[in-house]
Symmetry: C2
Subunit: 205 residues, 2 copies
Amino acid sequence: MDALSTCSVIAYDPFMVIGQPPARERADAARNRARVLAAAEELFATKDARQVTMDEIARAAGVGRATLYRRYPDPASVAAALLDEHERVLQEQLMGGPPPLGPGAPPAERLAAFYTAMTGLLERHLHLALGAETGDARFRTGAYGFWRLHVLALLTEAAAPDPNGLVEVLLAPLAPELYQEQRRRGLSPHQITASLTWLSRLLNT
Amino acid sequence: MDALSTCSVIAYDPFMVIGQPPARERADAARNRARVLAAAEELFATKDARQVTMDEIARAAGVGRATLYRRYPDPASVAAALLDEHERVLQEQLMGGPPPLGPGAPPAERLAAFYTAMTGLLERHLHLALGAETGDARFRTGAYGFWRLHVLALLTEAAAPDPNGLVEVLLAPLAPELYQEQRRRGLSPHQITASLTWLSRLLNT
DNA sequence: CAATAAGTGGACACAGTGTCCGCTAATCCA
DNA sequence: TGGATTAGCGGACACTGTGTCCACTTATTG
């Protein structure tokens, strides 16, 4: 069994707090949650995600400020909740999907497949990624911990020297700001995945 | 002659604005500039650089807010001005210093030397780097443009496929937040440079 | 030693934050 | 079904930081 199976993915959700049986969410609470997420999705897509404020989200959702704060401590958490759904799909494919994304292919190929999948995710949901995983908040995300364990396992399997030193280096080019910058400079998604695939050769030694 | 020699390094300094002959800085202005820089250096080193405010810098320097805004639009610019001095030294070595940092060594070795020099810079001035080059502000720095041209030249010389696609990727692991994260996880500066040196092998194809 | 304008800094209007607390209404149970 | 309970709501508040304006100060120049 994979080491990843022991990694719990952290999402900002009041009902995932350990030891707190849901007890069931009230109907109006659920409705407001949906409103908030829908309004936020719209906002993040429309304007620069890093400038979206709590105030704005609350207003757009037609909800009081305190109601919003009840669930999410800041705009990044809202974006993270929205991203989480998409990331979870990839996480499952990495653990149990068909190779080369899932287990069964050589490490270099799996890394390249992972890179390709991640750039796909970034291309589709860049606004959310910029809102959620910018700067050093990125390292504190549950998702980052997952990617990290995955790549760490690949490095170890490939018998790379000092996997712990290399993990962060190999994950660095997946920073949302970097992807944005590359796109801004006119690189196509395909060009970016090609570069990352080339980088994956490192594991072939 | 190196392509780098055509790259102007942008620092936030009112007297570097194109077409504005200095005319000479007034004595009190110079004194306040020094006060601001000294106070800021202290502040950035003391607390989390990303939380230093203009208000705080002005107060610490014993200077009015408007005086501070006259020269620097935000705290990042102050940090950039402080960093600039140190970065300039490295820039000169890259252009005209002895190999492998300067011209004359094979690209892979020059890249490794560059990585080592940069991590040295980060280790010594991480607080300033975090204050100046965090998130996507990093890409807008004059210094980044310089590093980018340097690495681009090395990639081209090494006949790498699609240098434009690879530059940002190779510069990604030098993001200050990343260095901070690696150090936080217990990696030594030496471990980090070793990993980056290993990465430089890519140019050896 | 005046004239000049570069330089200064207090004050202001504004935007966003995070929390408190009285009220509303969904849920539960008799 | 209808009253009690309490989760959930949201307006209001105090606070911090921003960026700009403008009347005052003072270094410089002839």
